[in-house]
Symmetry: C3
Subunit: 148 residues, 3 copies
Amino acid sequence: MTDLERLMAIEEIHQLKACYFRCMDTKDWAGLTAVFSPDGELDMRGEAADKSKAAEGLVHGATAIGAFIRNAVLDLVTVHHGHMPEIEVTSPTWAKGIWAMEDILRWPEGGPIKTLQGYGHYHETYRKLDGAWHIQTSRLSRLRVDIT
Amino acid sequence: MTDLERLMAIEEIHQLKACYFRCMDTKDWAGLTAVFSPDGELDMRGEAADKSKAAEGLVHGATAIGAFIRNAVLDLVTVHHGHMPEIEVTSPTWAKGIWAMEDILRWPEGGPIKTLQGYGHYHETYRKLDGAWHIQTSRLSRLRVDIT
Amino acid sequence: MTDLERLMAIEEIHQLKACYFRCMDTKDWAGLTAVFSPDGELDMRGEAADKSKAAEGLVHGATAIGAFIRNAVLDLVTVHHGHMPEIEVTSPTWAKGIWAMEDILRWPEGGPIKTLQGYGHYHETYRKLDGAWHIQTSRLSRLRVDIT
């Protein structure tokens, strides 16, 4: 790949991840689902609030991932921000990357949890399918979580 | 446009928006005004703290926009951060984009409001004039605002 | 330099600074030290919590800088995010830049300070040595610090 092709791939992956965050926070579930490869993988096992349900945090397939996230945040006000991407394009159709992240989740009034504010990193791979980059795998690791 | 020209335009627009945030938070009003096109438009109507004054949130012209922002935040300590830009260059002299944003405003002691912390998105267009990109239109939509 | 060379340098410097933040927050001290030029300079004098020790905030040399940061944050949970880079490549081997930043430091239980949350800008220069960009000088200025 040329330097220009690498830079283009990096910019497209930056915008792909931007779409992931924006679609989640604006509750655009079709847009969110389309970010992932059809056989993509989301791994939130390490960060389950309820450790007895950690195994449920491994989800396969774009449709299931979209439904999983929708179910998790549908009733919440969420803010997700990504920072400081380190994208390495390993072939014309594969890349890997790390993003720093912060999320703020607010539950409806009356529940046991009011707000969760978390910080960590996404560890991801990306795959180009039919001319567009998708998230192939995504795993979240946390630095810290504050719950009120 | 070539891919390289598009990438250059995107990088210049990223730095333009960085200048907008930095000039606002360091109270460099001349620098902030210069970010906008002479006939630029700022639309904060949807996010007015006082809804009865929402109409005042639509401002035309770089000079008026600079004065509007200066008036709004002169006595405040402000922090504005932008994230996850999605810039689409639609011609050699026009582009559009979305930015996730967070702002933290702190008022002087003794007033009714102490701190506002907000989250949302800027929806913007950009225009290249005399070789430099400017913000042509900017509209803010909020996900959430916390006031203490 | 060509536009493509400039864009490549900017992307490499973005990832360099990403590594700085990630290595600090994941306590990868070797990785953090390698971010700096062997004769690099870190200037935190303006932001010392204890003004009587401000002079100690000027540190020279990658090894000393790595040890200084390690000593400052070893027992803390830290989150550092950078935003909105304005990188200017001034030659094939030199660049300068500004980053908006936010940091959240949490001390172990029982001390006088619980949490510091700060906002400001890094003012930096970069140097390419043996084919890789390094931070040559870094100075932090604050907009605001909240201590609880």
